[in-house]
Symmetry: C2
Subunit: 385 residues, 2 copies
Amino acid sequence: MAFDQQLRIPGPTPVPHRVAAAGAQPMINHRGPVFKQLMITVLERLKNVFQTKNTILALTGSGTAAMEASVANLINPHDEVLVLAGGVFGQRWAKICRAFQSQVHVLEYPWGEGVDPQQVADFLRRHPQTAAVFATHNESSTGVLNDLAGIGAAAADFDALLIVDAVSSLGGADLKMDQWGIDVVCTASQKCLMAPPGLAFISFSQRAEQRMMEVSSPRFYLDLRIYMEWLAKHEPPFTPNIACFRAVAEALSMIEAEGLEQVFARHLLLRDMIRAGLRALNLPLLVDEKWASPTVTAVKPDFSDIGGFVADLRACGVELAGGQGPLSGKIFRIGHMGYASPLDMLVTLAAIESKLGCYGRAAAAAEQVWSEAQQAHGTLAEWRA
Amino acid sequence: MAFDQQLRIPGPTPVPHRVAAAGAQPMINHRGPVFKQLMITVLERLKNVFQTKNTILALTGSGTAAMEASVANLINPHDEVLVLAGGVFGQRWAKICRAFQSQVHVLEYPWGEGVDPQQVADFLRRHPQTAAVFATHNESSTGVLNDLAGIGAAAADFDALLIVDAVSSLGGADLKMDQWGIDVVCTASQKCLMAPPGLAFISFSQRAEQRMMEVSSPRFYLDLRIYMEWLAKHEPPFTPNIACFRAVAEALSMIEAEGLEQVFARHLLLRDMIRAGLRALNLPLLVDEKWASPTVTAVKPDFSDIGGFVADLRACGVELAGGQGPLSGKIFRIGHMGYASPLDMLVTLAAIESKLGCYGRAAAAAEQVWSEAQQAHGTLAEWRA
């Protein structure tokens, strides 16, 4: 029997039935009144999740489309930029900036740790002409959540725009765009927003909006000036991913019903359950408590055949992710974001401990974390009350 | 009661139930074996519809993303290009080429007619250094199907690449990519391919593939070299629109079951029914028989309040499209592509004739066309046999 997978990768994440059903409704005219209303309300409701008053735009594309839109719209050729890189997605910022011919300075930080905000401030003091700082909120190749509030504070005194990849964090980890002084936040539909892949979202400050008008890099499909022009008419410039808009609308209803604070608390609980379970199995965690991501956890086990281990788990119905780049073949990763519950963590740990012959050990540790959380705060359902 | 719309716009088009259901299946890992197999087979099966042996790539985006990918990957800044423009989508080629700083020559042809291939040949003789000719197969802003075989023959003796927007034709009108000597064909999921919007497809000749390696225009998300590198591993470089891949796979099964020739014949029948019905209502057609599109028909009525007319039809459950650009407020358009049947044409015409007080007149004319087709070829179900 081809059972549904327990999809425990750092995105795409499981899509709730009601979200998938919303996306499968009969097609509609993207220039008619029903879609206009849908688009405007989704972009408005997302402001709560972005914790911003800024404009949000939707691009039909992957998260990387929003990242490229940031570069193509905000960076002139030969501009100096600072990229903070401690994993594959930090490196992606550097690749995109180089593709657009900017002068890239890379502040590398160890894969498995977060960047030190003080180093960002030091760099900007020495390079006050820096046009932008590109940061990764949650580095999903390592499972590190960066101190974005600290980076925001470090960059606050400089002209450089702070541009953030929040693809695998927004809606799962606290991100106060306005309060932390972030100029651009990029995210996508298929992570904590619980919808299928296919829409990217980008929000930008007034300062970033002004910068757009002065940038000469070639762009059309990702030209945010065109999107803003059409937004004034409540329309998208190009045929949008209508199904995904409907899915995101439904997912937002679920997030709003749970409450954003509760969503964040649930992600922290899932993280703590997974980490406790893995520690009980003596599986080394790549990332220390200080930087541990609420959405994905990386394990660096002593055994060598990680590909075989991931394939074994897949055969049991649990889909994990391997490592990327230099961590390929060295780690596996467990996604725990979006539509993920404590029970999902228990079944994932149960499959892992079974495969390792440590019956019940990880589940026991995770159950204890869960139980303590319930004693302190009540059940998930009660947390809201 | 909010009945489903009769969606008669030139895309997005109605999504068959089984296609929508395929897209709503539980989410899967885009780096796991199930998706790899899905991606490779969809791209392989599409070759039948593209009528090509060339590589086909999928981009998560609108059709415009595939158009921009053609420009960004094949045109260097300051290259001379020829754009054939007789409507909004021809003009879009010029806009994209200008955004990428090429020297654009526009061969304008009347809105409502096709381009004369002889003029293309004449231009290329005078400008042998032209890097590419950008053509629109089906200009959906006017309902013109261009003579692409003729354009291909006209361009055959020159170095210029022939790059074609087939977004609103591929899978509805005959397009012999290899036989007609077309270097690049762009299309999207939400037109004749009967899936929701969110995937674009691009196919390119060996000659175009070589050109890509020599082009310096900045690109990353739409850098086809990256897609080809990953294709060799049977993977997409960025998280793809998985739901839409599944939808397209299901739609391809429907196209394969009907047979491509039969699909084209059905589109011609739908066109002829719509045109006969509109003529019976004395509604002037924008486009003569010679250029009449099999996928969309434009009407230029004598009455002035076209917006009101479209709104009236919407209130009856039939969703039509207005005009675009200089034709805004002057025409309305009826889409008849993809998952569209003779019965859909009859209900559309019935709603239009009702609104005009000409009860039964258009339906009668269309039914006669349909009946004659059945006498000549049998019912749609029999055509295949």
